[in-house]
Amino acid sequence: MSTRLARGGRFTDRSKQFGFTFNGKRFTGYAGDTLASALLANDQMLMGRSFKYHRPRGVVASGAEEPNALVGLGEGARFEPDQRVTTTELFDGLVADSQNHWPSLDFDVGGVNAKLSRFLPAGFYYKTFLWPRAFWKHVYEPVIRQSAGLGKAPHPEVRDADRYEHFHAHVDLLVIGGGVAGLQAAKSAARAGAQVLLLEQSAHWGGRTPVDGGSIDGHDPEAWVAQTVAELEAMPNVRLRLRCMGAGIYDHAYALGYERLTDHRPGAEGPRHRLWRIRAKQILAATGAIERPLSFAGNDIPGVMLASAVRDYVVNWGVTPGDRTVVVTNNDDAYRTAITLKQAGLEVPVILDARPMGGGALMEEARALGIRVEPGRGIARVLGGKRVTGVATCMQNGQGAMLEEIPCDAVAMSGGWSPVVHLWSHCGGKLAWDEKGAFFRPDPARAPSGADGKPFMSVAGAANGHLTLQAALACADGAGKAAAGALGHDVDETEAPSAEAAPEAPLAPVWLMPQGASADLRMKAFLDYQNDVKVSDVQLAAREGYESVEHTKRYTTLGMATDQGKLSNINGLAVLSDALGTPIPQVGTTTFRPPYTPISFGAIAGEARGEIFQPLRRTPMHEWHEANHAVWEPVGQWRRPYCYPKPGESKHKAVEREINATRASLGVLDASTLGKILVKGPDAGRFLDMMYTNMMSTLPVGKCRYGLMCNENGFLMDDGVVVRLSEDSWLCHTTSGGADHVHAHMEDWLQCEWWDWKVYTANLTEQYAQVAVVGPNARKLLEKLGGMDVSKETLPFMTWAEGTLADTPVRVYRISFSGELSYEIAIPANRGRAFWNRVIEAGREWNMTPYGTEALHVMRAEKGFIMIGDESDGTVIPQDLGLHWAISKKKEDFLGKRAQERIDMARGDRWQLVGLETLDGSVLPDGAYAVAPGRNANGQRNAEGRVTSTYHSPTLRKGIAMGLVKHGPDRMGEVLQFTAEDQDETRDELTTIAARIVSPVFYDPEGEKQNV
């Protein structure tokens, strides 16, 4: 059984006991435990079920590479699925549930899949579910969704209880990994004067060296680590972060760090996770190495673990996975596990060493402790179901004939080590195959490089393939100094720390155990635990013609689980290489992509949630609208009042009331969101003649002109009233949503194309509040406010004037978007709210009614005015909208002119703007199509037009609409059939609504009302 030892545990504090539950069972552990060590201490070896076959699975590793032991952690607002028990620090009250089991972890119905595994080989889904096609949606997909998947998503209505944030850091050198190599590299670089940020993903410095032993500069590794950390902490140019993983490396030495601040103390004040957005000049990865499993039958039975992990549990947490542990290996390092176990008073019945001659000094040490060593042997199969009960041994070079059955309750396996090259690879660093160590290591000749073509990244220690302590420290010292040198620092000649560790005999690559394992054994030898990919699956893929490792990965799902193949990658491609008869380096690896391990969505979102999910832009009058029950409409990031319903009034009724009051007497609109861009300079007129389709250079000072703006493709982009302020300055009004885009568009042309034109622009949108006073009594209101002459003679239609109204400096524009007598008044924004109050107060005698965007839309539609985004959609040119009058014939050029002359634009039968009236007075559905006879090449019903704007007009007391119709203006009076909103799916025929083509100007076609 797995249990807590009487003593030991570098990380655990046995004076502090924590209670926790797993699947409702109550357990205890100690401060410093991980959930993995605490479960093992309570003999809870079975921790989950696999993804495909629902096989019982236990923990196999001790760190970030763990593929099996994923749990749903926490409850309610702090529930999170797919959490690795090996990287979950224990806290008092922790609640965890195993995943992927039904109805219970011990008895799982899906486990029947395992019995059928012979019939669920690689590519099973692709092969089986191809036919019949209709079965996919109704039969296969629902069943697969039910049985597949790992953790469950949090409840959709529950909101994450924690907060998150980002942090931008700029450093000379980012060192990732706080093992002895990372510490040494940071120290060497910092001593030379570099600003260093050192990240370690776990809660402890020193990596695995204190477990593995040896000595550094004559010290015990643990003492050396403590001393080095103290030295680094004392250096002002060094920053150290624990629980902060280097998650990804990107172009120009940009890196992401993922800091877990309160995962180990939930509910504590402060953010839970912090995403570090790091701009480094150099990056050094000291990310260590990960041990590889061996591929033998039953290597996934709970109790089979990596040899290094077994050692970690004993040394770091005082926990042993078993009383009797068989060690199986192809290298010397695993002997350390046997020695550790033996020294802890546990039984090691045998070490099976696949190498014919066995190992070196460590083997001798094990033998001296009385441990039986069997060279040339391996495991034929592991015995047991939910728990290891023994192993059947065999000759490694045979086919699996059993030599001996050895009872045991744990197996410690080691297939060698793979450097963690992920971060090196994220931004394009290439790998080289190391024949001696049988692993891929970073190729320094093909490093990730920056804008100058020089490498911005290096790798040190085990991550660089230096698996011995001596070599790792020497490499780290050199890499730290080299990084400092690359940063321009003078590096002193100092000695690398001297280290001693037992010498190791070379490993022998073992990709399958035994070498000639029968099909039966290969079908139980797992490569990818989380996705249940076995040796036989990869071999099948090869037989079926999969040669590319990337294709094999997707076909078999090898390495596609949440652990991204940290354990399975090399073993899988070695099996593929063998099956293809192609050397491993030619087969290559799949692509490593960020993040190194999954990071939380919260960390990615940072502070952007709730009220600050996105900026909401508010006008100076926003609070007044709020206090007056405005219903909001988002316009870009602005919030504008849609209408102001009175108590008990529907939105529809409110809109009608607002329109009727405005047309009958007086309305007022907050138009502050309107874009206002100043264009000034000797070339400003010439510039605006290019920006707009019509002529702006000839606009007299004091006048206003409506203008259209197209993009280079000729399509209508924005519109608005342009005002000539002075000899060399114009103010361009844009749509509310278009201001920033139009300003950027102008600057783009000025900075990139016409950089020698003397023009300056300024976005003054926010400088002014703007109030539209609209209706037959508008002039009377302005006269009541007093301060300037707003008479027809002094201020005629399409002119402007500056002056004072209600003791406030104003600029008044006589423009109208409603067809009524209308003034738009610009006020410095700091005075906007006060001015608005004065207007509201003064308007009472005329029942002045504030109106929102919907009333604005209806009134402009009644007048046949187009709306950008309704009548235009990025494919409409001004000519489609009957706006020829606003397109200059005199100008030699303007943006869009050439495009509008292309054949498709000038073809003559483009859909064009018309008004539409239903025969029964009803309102046409928005976006409805006018149906035409016949079907197109895709079998769809032909169409000859569509509705672009449609409203109930309270003024005309019927539905009105605008639309684009083929040859529309030539077909006045014709009746078209438009698709109705509700269609009877069972009938073949469309339900349609009849509407007549009319002029788009429904109200006051002569313009008498606005020109008074």
Binding site: Y760, A762, Q767
Partner: protein, 196 residues
Amino acid sequence: MCDVITSQTEPSAPMAGALSEGLLRVEALPPQGQISLRGDFSDGFRDAVCGITGTGFPDPLGAAESGDRALLWMSRDELLFLLPYEAATETLAQLNAALAGQHFAATDVSDARAQFRVTGPHLRDVLAKLSPTDMAPGAFAPGEVRRSHLAQVAAGYWLRGPEEAQVFVFRSVGDYAFRVLTTAAAPGGEVGFHEA
């Protein structure tokens, strides 16, 4: 309608009175006169501008202060002149007169922005949560100016002292900026990266 009736006509700055205290003190500033200046930074431009502002001409990324006025470097052809709100209209007229004959643009943007004073020992760490600007003392010294962003909106930063910055954003997002600054400065969010 529950009209809020007031005959007040005094200008009021966005977020007037807003104040929060956490790792930083965040307070909205009263109306601030601001004039945006574009020009070619020639000697003639410099002389004309400084003759009116009464300040020196700022170095790139810098600010030139004199009493209650300051000239901030915004880009290689743009300056921002800060002055008392009441003085903006008249000063703008003076600048227009002094620069007449040159190609320039001087615009009153006194009402276009929300301004905040943020103070406290965690200043650099909290601002680094919201802006990609290098906030290290060696990279961003007191007296300097940066144009960057504050979470999702454009922002300017004028470092007034080791523990004080003036942050300006467009007025419509003043509420957002205040909330974001307050959130980033909430207790428990200490980072300990920059020297406090």
